[in-house]
């Protein structure tokens, strides 16, 4: 009945909250059913097991910026469907569906605001938009976010969530890896902090570029973080993998992260980091 709810939810005069699917939230980790309202009030963290659910840009901005106020940066215009790609569906149709489902123009959104009185630009990747995949739009938005931070002389904080490169943009999506790396370089040259918060799930080409280049590497608990997906590795080496393999905790243990921070503590942690790292005119 998923299609039915999808259609129903898009009809403006029927309240979205009224279907069973939206009233209850089922935790992806412990499978507990909790009231959606209670779940969202708990920052989309499961009140039963503490699992951090996936959230999009608006929810993230709402949780982090002062006074629930921020200025969203305009989405850049990029070439759409540069390869005229189609698999079983046309890429343009997939884009259209993702846009109507998320209300965003692509999988990455920037906003400028303050965190405990300190300026910051935050970029959030949206897994709900075609698996957060990285193509021309994500690459260009990231560059714009870094430049907005440079203009405002403030840190750039990026929340990653992505399956990797957007296959539908072929080699051009691969080229976003060096492109976004250049933006990280520009931040470094400007003496501004680049803080990465890895969220569930982040993998592939995203993991192998800007997601691992932060001055500070943070992750939310239990996030799935990988270069190569578990299934591919198991198929290649025909071995069973350790249970916590590619979790945030596993990455911390192997030296790839500075810290794991719960969502409820993120705002405080980021504020503290900015105070340590931001250019001195701004430092507390």
């Amino acid at each position: 009945m998923n299609w039915f709810n999808n259609v129903r939810n898009r009809i403006p005069f029927i309240s979205k909250r009224s279907t069973e699917d939206t009233l209850w939230h089922k935790c992806r980790d412990c499978n507990q059913m909790v009231f959606t309202k209670e779940y969202e009030e708990n920052l989309s963290v499961c009140p039963e097991c503490g699992f951090h659910g996936r959230i999009g840009p608006s929810a993230r901005f709402l949780q982090l910026f002062d006074d629930m106020s921020w200025e969203e940066l305009p989405a850049p215009k990029v070439k759409e469907d540069p390869l005229k790609f189609r698999d079983q569906k046309k890429y343009v149709d997939r884009l259209k569906a993702a846009r109507s489902a998320t209300g965003e123009s692509d999988a990455f959104v920037n906003a400028r605001g303050q965190i405990k009185g300190q300026d910051a630009v935050i970029g959030v990747q949206d897994f709900a938009f075609m698996g957060g995949s990285m193509g021309l739009a994500v690459g260009e938005t990231f560059v714009r976010g870094a430049r907005a931070a440079i203009e405002a002389q403030c840190p750039y904080i990026v929340f990653t969530a992505s399956g990797g490169a957007r296959m539908q943009e072929g080699g051009l999506s691969l080229m976003q890896m060096p492109k976004m790396t250049v933006a990280v370089e520009e931040l470094r040259e400007a003496g501004l902090p680049y803080i990465v918060v890895l969220t569930d799930p982040t993998s592939g080409g995203v993991m192998a570029s800007y997601a691992m280049l932060g001055d500070i590497q943070i992750s939310e608990p239990k996030a799935l973080l990988a270069f190569t997906g578990r299934r591919v590795i198991e198929n290649t080496i025909r071995e069973k993998l350790p249970d916590n393999f590619q979790s945030a905790e596993y990455l911390l243990e192997h030296g790839m992260l500075d810290m794991i921070v719960e969502r409820s503590a993120l705002r405080d942690t980021l504020a503290q980091l900015i105070a340590f790292l931001a250019p001195s005119k701004q430092a507390a």
Binding site: L83, G170, M177, G204, G205, F227, T228, T236, H254, M256
Partner: protein, 332 residues
Amino acid sequence: MPVIPSLTRPTGRLNRATMQHYLDFEKPIADLQARVAELRTTADSGSLNIDGEVKRLEAKSEKMLRDTYERLTPWQKTQVARHPDRPHFKDYVAGFVEDFMPLAGDRGFSDDLAIIGGFGRIHGRRVLVMGHEKGDNTESRLRHNFGMAKPEGYRKAIRLMKLADRFGLPVVTLVDTPGAFPGIQAEERAQAEAIARSTETCLQLKVPIVAAIVGEGGSGGAIALSSANTVLMFEHAIYSVISPEGCASILWRTADKAADAAEAMRISAPELKKLGVIDRVVAEPVGGAHREPDAAIAALGKAISDELGKLAGVSGEKIRLKRRAKFLDMGK
């Protein structure tokens, strides 16, 4: 200069006529060439004068080869790019790098032979040359891990690039990898971070970096060495964000649709040139680099030397900024 067994060129390619691997789509050509060989044996025995027929069939088979290779589909190119007889890193080095002096190790963990590099001279100009080595028999393929580097391979690459940068040697990379190695140890030692830093290092260099996609340019494992000022690509090489099989199994839910995926992703050199992903296509001999490796190797050496020439004398800062601008504008 130390001699590393893996770097000495095999003594010719023995019995190429009989040992040649034919690809599936080359079957009609293989059949014709077998027929020619058969007629030749008959003619040698002196029983018949069939020179005319042999010549006619040879001409026909040559034409068929040319026609086939002019119209290779992206999936056929994938087969050619992966052809076991295609020249590999050590063949290019033996062919156009003088005084090659290999350097080893990442200084932290081990020496990953999936990526080999060292000092050398190309047409007299000193360079740091490195690239993926796939190996060409079971033993060497295992030793080089089929050209799939682990984090220590990329960390060796980073070390060598920084070394080249300090001493003003241009960097030349030859890319030929199915992708970075997917395994527990690779993940454990931060494969993603190693690739990200290697890409970053390419972008920081104040010396020119010229990359050539010579076989398979597989995703992150390739971009870590190919974020270059100039990217060359062999006519029948492929360069892609995911293997056609991988893409097909995700988007079509079956690897059987790899040919469709190869087509849709535009992984061939001419198409990537049009998209601005690469800068120059290097033509291969008729029938692919594996049929006339010496000619292919020489053509690549010349193209690389040309491109190094164009970048010589440009200031380090300009080299770096031009490279950055190129990737910032990618896809615009």
